[in-house]
């Protein structure tokens, strides 16, 4: 039955990409199209006294120049899609995020004016003629500093810049009591630094207004066309949703940064009608650095307590989370429900409390970046446990084994209820770590480490992580503050000839849905994969969708497809039974045909689909056609997990860290296409390792992002990384029809702490008992750590 599922089917979408025929937003050229350039604030905090656009408007080839004053007051700005309440029950502070500033800029990159011209060069030239009079004010960029009395305010009506405070888990006094009586407490203060998602395709948007049909089209590099449409129509511009089409064509990577609804999308749509021409805006890379929502940026303080046997007894974490100057679409969810709820990790810790304070700063917005909250939680837990092992002189792998939650499959043995509001679906944690130890050759490793004698320090770091994916049960996330449902939809249209068009609300921007989804459909229907087309990313073709993020496409979107296929087969069986003069219950469906059990009488899928559209000889009372839509709302999150191990060498002279090996054993449930899952893991690893060793924003005290280009921000390159050694175990998800859990974020969640732990291990084993090295662990930082005191 499974001709395709579980096989590394080569990707069906590759042909257009390898021949240069991919169609990304910036590749689209419309008739009479104009080009936009957005003039942005060079200051982080300033009063805008005046903006003079006369000279720019007068330039040849300029169609129009608009500022915040040209956006009607009724358009307040882009909304936030997730509400978190203060501990005292008050709703979070949610100042407006206007499309362009009116009186005050709040971060470098805030939009001052949009110039629309015949070419992007003219638009940019004209922008240089705009005169802005600013009063420059003090800025604050650090999330903890922002909350201190006297810090410069980002929004006048938000005291102490605090967006909300929040906690989850057991009462603090219980956690503190458990820590007080613990045999050992490991304590760590650290910064999980801000990173930039850096999809290689810069964001781009084209707004178009069609007078004949009174209709707008927005082409945009988004992970989430339908949600963008909903927000744009209902919350920003007040347009009727049926009069707006949003297309996310080929999209060159997202990693979270293209989930959100951005101001530029609203600007090009709104002004396309006023200017009477389609308007294209494409970010330059330095503009992406200033305006694509960033990731991470937590300042944390945590304590983990152990009894004399090394059993964890309590975990307390305090985190300041940076929101940036404005709330991006899902920003409040990231440090709370995607972070605080993950502190159980893989361990049986009986007392946990997580306390989060989210603050505004004069920086670009922070929102979900690959992993979104889960990497930050994993980083904290896994750093603490490795450090605890060093402090207690225990083996870090053994210490983890000792604390693992015992195996449960979610069927025979029910899901594990955590101290932080979740119920894990299924898990079996020892095998991933055992497999990783085997791959490393751990038995010999410590001896080798002790004997190492080549001028380099050898270190090993572990990270055993869990994540919550398959986002998400709508009622649950609704109760937690989401202002959207997080189901998925799918329509399966069987054409009269038996070819199948599948319309999915998931969105592929590199994940390979056109292949993976087709594999599922081909096997379920027993037809050739070439007879299936997967259609996504266009609100005129796909009725509704919630897009792709949170490793949800297959677990949620795939399940919606399976639901529609089940309906196709159920109706198909009725038609087949009629044709075969049998009862539907007496039929078997296999290899694309219905057969009367125990006979050789059968009818094929194509005959049934044709009959459904040419219903001459047809079951009485049955509707013609073979076309079903479904919505699938998951009953729980899915919980992939894994063990990541980094082996590093540190040059004693220079402090340079070389990543020698990286081993990842992940369990993402059932796997449809191993090649694609491996690729997802590889990509995630590179990003997680990138954060540990290379990446990180640097804001100066005036709020300038001083490494906002590829010359200054260190992207991981091919020769920074080794080939990865990966394997997996399979613990199926018990609550979705495919048994899948999601693989998009795993690599990025587990890898970062493994690398840092390896460096710390190398230093301890050489007698340098440092607790932390700030990421990215540059040679300078490591050298300083080795040579301190």
């Amino acid at each position: 039955m499974t001709k395709y599922i579980g096989k590394s089917v080569k990707r069906l979408e590759d042909k257009r990409f390898i021949t240069g025929q991919g169609k990304y937003t910036d590749d689209i050229k419309l008739n009479n199209m104009a080009y936009a350039y957005i003039l942005r604030s060079p200051y982080a905090n300033a009063k805008v006294n005046s903006i003079d656009t006369d000279a720019a408007k007068a330039m040849d080839g300029v169609a129009a120049v608009f500022t915040g004053a040209d956006v009607p007051e009724s358009i307040a700005g882009v909304p936030c899609g997730w509400q978190v309440n203060f501990k005292n029950g008050d709703t979070m502070k949610e100042p407006p995020h206007p499309l362009m500033v009116r009186t005050k800029v709040r971060h470098v990159g805030d939009a001052i004016a949009i110039v629309i011209a015949d070419s992007k060069a003219i638009a940019k030239d004209a922008s240089e003629l705009i005169n802005v009079d600013y009063d420059i004010l003090d800025a604050v960029t650090d999330p903890k500093a922002a909350a201190q009395p006297g810090a410069p305010l980002v929004h006048e009506d938000v005291p102490n810049n605090i967006c909300f405070d929040w906690e989850i888990g057991n009462p603090k006094d219980e956690v503190e009591a458990a820590l007080a009586s613990a045999a050992h407490v490991t304590e760590l203060e650290f910064v999980n630094q801000r990173v930039v998602p850096n999809a290689i395709e810069p964001r781009s948007a084209i707004g178009e207004y069609d007078t004949a049909y009174d209709r707008y089209t927005l082409h945009t590099s988004t992970q989430n066309p339908h949600l963008t449409r909903l927000l744009l129509c209902a919350f920003v511009l007040g347009l009727p949703e049926h009069k707006v089409r949003v297309v996310g064509p080929d999209v060159g990577g997202g990693f979270g940064s293209k989930i959100f609804h951005y101001t530029e999308e609203a600007l090009v749509v709104y002004f396309s009608k006023i200017v009477g021409r389609p308007i294209k805006w494409t970010a330059e890379r330095s503009e992406s650095f200033l305006t694509d929502a960033h990731g991470r940026d937590h300042v944390s303080h945590a304590k983990m307590g152990f009894d004399a046997d090394g059993k964890m007894v309590a975990l307390q974490a305090y985190t300041y989370a940076n929101m940036g100057a404005y709330l991006s679409t899902f920003a409040p969810a990231v440090p709370t429900y995607l972070h605080g709820t993950l502190f159980q990790g893989l361990y049986t810790t009986p007392k946990i409390n997580v306390d989060v304070t989210a603050t505004f700063t004069h920086t670009n917005a922070v929102d979900a970046y690959r992993g979104a909250g889960r990497p930050e939680a994993t980083y904290l837990i896994e750093r603490l446990i490795d450090l605890a092992a060093l402090e207690m002189n225990m083996d870090p792998a053994e210490l983890r084994m000792k604390n693992f939650i015992p195996a449960f499959d979610g069927v025979e043995k029910e899901g594990y209820v955590t101290q932080v509001a979740l119920q894990y679906d299924s898990g079996n944690y020892e095998p991933v770590l055992n497999r990783a130890l085997e791959m490393i050759g751990y038995e010999d490793f410590r001896a080798k480490q002790a004997a190492q004698n080549n001028g380099k320090l050898l270190g090993i770091g572990f990270s055993t992580y869990i994540e919550a994916c398959g986002i998400a049960p709508s009622a649950v996330v609704g109760a937690l503050g989401a202002r959207a449902g997080l189901f998925e939809s799918a329509q399966v249209t069987v054409q009269p000839t038996g070819k199948v068009s599948v319309y999915t609300g998931s969105h592929s921007h590199g994940q390979g849905h056109e292949t993976t989804f087709a594999q599922v459909v081909a096997d379920k229907l027993g037809i050739d994969i070439g007879d299936i087309e997967i259609i996504h990313g266009d609100s005129d073709r796909v009725a509704f969708g919630m897009g792709t993020y949170g490793s949800r496409s297959l677990a949620v979107g795939g399940s919606a497809i399976v639901k529609s296929i089940d309906k196709v087969l159920e109706k198909g069986a009725k038609i087949a039974a009629h044709l075969l003069e049998a009862s539907p219950d007496d039929l078997n469906y296999e290899d694309g045909k219905w057969t009367v059990k125990g006979t050789d009488k059968s009818v094929g899928f194509g005959d049934v689909s044709l009959t459904s559209y040419v219903p001459h000889n047809y079951p009485e009372g049955l509707e013609p056609g073979l076309d079903f839509s479904s919505f699938y709302d998951p009953t729980n999150f899915t919980y992939p997990f894994g063990a990541h191990v980094a082996i590093v060498e540190i040059d004693k002279e220079t402090g340079k860290v070389e990543l020698k090996r990286f081993i990842a054993v992940d369990d993402v449930g059932n796997v449809i296409n191993p090649m694609i899952v491996d690729g997802q893991i590889h990509g995630g690893l590179a990003q997680g390792i990138g954060q540990a060793l290379h990446e990180g924003t640097v804001y100066d005290e005036t709020g300038q992002l001083i490494n906002g280009t590829y010359m200054d921000y260190c992207m991981p390159r091919a020769d920074d990384l080794p080939s990865f050694e990966i394997d997996r175990t399979v613990t199926p998800c018990p609550h979705n029809p495919l048994g899948v859990k999601g693989a998009g974020e795993a690599g990025c969640i587990g890898s970062t702490p493994a690398v840092v732990n390896a460096v710390i291990d190398a230093l301890w084993k050489a007698g340098h008992k440092v607790k932390d090295i700030q990421m990215p662990m540059t040679s300078e930082r490591v050298w300083n750590a080795m040579n301190a005191g």
Partner: protein, 159 residues
């Protein structure tokens, strides 16, 4: 201020008037509508715009269109011949060397140039040769394998 240039792209001669400041990548994308060559940065760092100019890989965002006057260019659209994929294209598909596909044209153009200079590169040499090409999706693991696949295939074909 317009400058007249003649450039052969993928075997076809184009004559056009361009501004002195027009970048070659803009000429290729905007004037010739060959959008397989991408723009990923403004600092000549990412390599998404890599093409061949007179047989050598260059970053087309770093060359002015007027500087390319009289030269022969190959872009990703010119990589396959007579409907047959180039071994490098085949390698990227076989070894899953692409995800979103945005870096891919530039990667393949850089990699074909490498194999011209060094037909059997080691993994280390491949990784070094890709220093100027960023990929955010693949972690480079399968890009290395794709290039090894192409090298194997091309060496097999000439052996």
């Amino acid at each position: 201020m317009a400058n007249k240039i003649s450039i052969t792209v993928n075997g076809k001669m184009h004559t056009a008037e361009v501004e002195a400041r027009t970048l070659l990548v803009d000429f290729i994308r905007e004037h010739l509508s060959l959008t397989g060559t991408h723009i990923g940065c403004d600092t000549s760092s990412c390599g998404a715009c890599t093409i061949h100019m007179d047989g050598k890989a260059i970053k087309s965002c770093t060359v002015l269109a007027v500087q390319a006057d009289g030269s022969e260019l190959t872009t990703v659209e010119g990589l396959s011949k007579n409907g047959e994929l180039h071994p490098m294209q085949e390698g990227f598909r076989e070894e899953h060397g692409l995800q979103c596909g945005f870096c891919t044209p530039g990667m393949m153009m850089a990699a074909t140039d490498l194999l011209k200079r060094n037909p059997s590169p080691s993994e280390h040499e491949i990784r070094e040769a890709l220093e100027g090409n960023f990929c955010r999706c693949t972690g480079y693991h399968n890009i290395v394998k794709s290039i090894q696949y192409a090298a194997g295939k091309m060496n097999g074909a000439t052996a």
